[in-house]
Symmetry: C2
Subunit: 473 residues, 2 copies
């Protein structure tokens, strides 16, 4: 019945046009969501030449849709991340997708060119947020908050030339955790590192280390910046020796540092940090790496970056350089930029690279050929005979009302085989079958899709029997 | 120590400048999130005159931040909605915040003026999505999907004159459920109505009815459109009689309908729908209302809208007209607009008005003076003496590693009283206290914040003791 979609419309129109043609203005009352869609249908009817699109159907450059299977994986990853943030007492926060343009452009220096501006359609000049940290600082200053431990999961937008293969997009999700407030040195900083360890362990991505690979930096220093190899290597001497504390001790011995009062202060903070990390039992995961000094122009204290450690075998499977999967640091001056009186609120925080993590997990599942269920449906309500729609509707409503996740075919007379195939393809574990025989005997069949075994249970016991099986599985 | 925030920076800079000043390009390696923020700090330091903002700190017109307390309420509401969608076998889907401009402008008719366009910064012309339904149709056409049951929770943007007091914003969240595919008549439509009933019941918002108030329409017809009152009232005769089926019967009697073949078809569909709703046991919640014909210019089949029923008392407390809290309908032609060959994919769906629901729930909680916990913290690690930071760090790490939600003060020597006050203010149920005495005896004190009772437990039993108490409460 190809024109099924069309017939009802004519019929309905005919039905109602006899009775009432109300003011379009009434439409503004509707919950915003479907009336506009409907409007587009009208548009398409008024302009038949537009029935087929005169443009390419695609998502904007650097963006993508997430399929149901991808959504399942993302949900699992975000659940691990957010649970950890909550475990550490963080509060949730949400801010608008766009901010006043001037607020952003003043805050990203050379990167301002990557900001998405909104078109001037009258009113304020706006830009899409570039990260979640500037909005956080704006929120603190706007509400005159002197301390806050918050997490924020949300999309941000950057007009970069997207190298999709590297898992970089113009729209991507950020998961930030930040501690704002005036506290004793290195305590919040240490917690941030603990959180990164908990999350990366919880995601079971394999071994990781919170550092930055020296080789990259040396390469750039020597080839790109023309630094003498021997100088680079002398610096390398420090960087090569992993294990934070021992390195800190070495630094204490270096006259270039020990003779500098402020350098010594920094060194003491560093020592303090590693004491705390030892108490957290994560020093084996932290490698203090002088190449991190690269960030010092920007950060106002300790910064860190977490990378996954690949076995040669893994490197074979995942040739791409996944880069760092988490990063963060201290930024004590940012909030003051938004405060009319320039009041300072010291901040330290971290950002989990969920897009890269998502990419890695997705690649591994593909490699393992793992099948992902796109739904959580527990029971499928099927029938072997024709004209059992009414029974199925009554039955499935009982399941839904009992909180059981259930589906049924939207057909009057579906084929049993195709119904069972659907369950096997989508991973639905149980099928409830109702037909003439069952109806006569006042029972229903419960079928296990895996074992294909069937049992008849009293119609009135259905819900309890289903719940029993679901709790067992 | 006001300049604590500043000192470390100098110290760190001094420490590292002695050793290494690497290429800024290395920054591109960092996980995107904090390096740019840090950059802004640099900016602020290079341009001291910018240390205080030369613009007003606010969110853009028609947008807002969500505080931690608001986030908790939203999370609870969305959880009820999404659980119901999953219970009905829906798959999750996510699409980019913006789409190709031409794709949207062709699809919203007169409402196109409300679309947020992105500034032309080179490349494609883009616009922020206006709803979640057009992206859904685009997704179906793009992936040549002939059937899909999906839900989508996400923000959409509309440049409307925001009447904030009415709970309307330019950025707001939509929760959509849609069934796409060629199915037998009225079965998916009936499930959509069932879903609305389950969600509105689950949210315990009080009585609701899926209809639209006749009085509004009559008022507009008579006063605004100059329709003769007696004509309006004759139409009203139909509308006044609630209870779907009886009305359908009346309509069958009306010669203006029974003599029209297509009107009869529509009427049969209508009868079918109410048969299914009866089997779902929700007819008492559904009132077929002819005023819904107002939507017929746009929709291609049944449409519906859910409103809360207020007692006069409630109307006192909540004077605002909350309007409808859910709406939906059938739109069978939309997908064809995106399909190069114009292939049709019939669709029916619904949209939950979560922003209005959130507003209502928030108002009620305020009226009841309910206090909302912004965190889920279960245990606070406190100390009565100085210099117990190390013990606290070791202890809290054990709790975190055991999956217990725990906080501690970021101070070397916090005051016990202020620590206990913090727990009372934030609703943390348990406090673990460790001091000299406890350390000597190899125990820790567990304090119930509510009863203020304390018990000493063996240090090594701490985690199990905490878990026991948490499972009991």
């Amino acid at each position: 019945m190809p024109q099924l979609g069309l017939l009802p419309k004519r019929a309905w129109a005919a039905l109602f046009s006899q009775l009432l043609r109300p003011p379009p203005s009434a439409c503004t009352q509707a919950v915003r969501g479907h009336s506009q869609v409907a409007e587009s249908v009208l548009t398409s009817q008024l302009k038949p030449h537009q029935e087929t699109p005169n443009f390419i159907i695609k998502t904007p450059k650097g963006t993508r849709d997430f399929s149901p299977q991808q959504m399942v994986v993302r949900e699992k990853i975000l659940d691990v991340v957010v649970s950890c943030f909550k475990r550490h007492g963080a509060q949730g926060l949400d801010t608008p997708a766009f901010e006043l343009k001037e607020m952003l452009t003043e805050n990203y220096g050379e990167n301002s060119g990557l900001i998405y501006d909104l078109k001037d359609q009258g009113g304020e000049l706006l830009s899409l947020r570039y990260d979640l940290t500037v909005p956080f600082a704006r929120y603190l200053a706007m509400n005159k908050l002197k301390k806050m431990k918050r997490y924020h999961v949300g999309k941000v937008w950057r007009r970069e030339s997207p190298a999709i293969v590297q898992g970089r997009y113009r729209e991507f999700c950020q998961c930030d955790f930040d501690i704002a407030g005036q506290f004793d040195p290195m305590i919040p900083d240490a917690e941030c590192l603990k959180i990164i360890c908990e999350i990366l362990s919880g995601l079971q991505l394999g071994n990781f280390l919170i550092k930055m690979p020296w080789t990259d930096v040396r390469h750039e220093m020597v080839t790109k910046k023309g630094l003498a190899p021997e100088v680079a290597d002398r610096i390398g001497d420090y960087v090569q020796c992993h294990g934070g504390v021992s390195l800190v001790e070495q630094l204490f011995q270096d006259p270039r540092l020990s003779q500098n009062k402020q350098a010594l202060e920094g060194l003491r903070d560093l020592k303090l940090l590693f004491e705390y990390l030892t108490l957290f039992g994560i020093t084996d995961k932290i490698s203090f790496d002088l190449s991190l000094a690269r960030g010092l122009d920007y950060y106002t204290g300790v910064i860190y970056e977490a990378v996954l450690l690949q076995t040669p075998a893994q490197a074979e499977e995942e040739p791409l350089n996944v880069g760092s999967v988490a990063a963060g640091g201290r930024y004590d001056e940012l909030v003051a930029m938004f405060d009319p009186k320039g009041h300072k609120v010291p901040c330290v925080g971290l950002s989990i690279g969920v897009e890269r993590i998502f990419y890695i997990v997705e690649q591994r599942m593909k490699a393992l050929g793992e099948k992902i269920r796109a739904t959580e449906t527990q029971v499928f309500v099927a029938t072997p005979q024709k004209n059992f729609l009414q029974e199925r509707l009554k039955l499935i409503a009982e399941l839904w009302d009992a909180g059981i996740k259930a589906e049924m075919p939207y057909k009057n007379n579906p084929k049993l085989l195709s119904q069972l195939h659907y369950c096997e393809n989508t991973g639905i574990p149980l099928v409830v079958i109702i037909g003439e025989q069952e109806l006569k005997e006042g029972v229903v069949k419960i079928r296990s899709v895996a074992s294909r075994g069937e049992v008849a249970v009293k119609r009135e016991d259905l819900v309890t029997e289903i719940q029993k099986r679901l709790s067992e599985s």
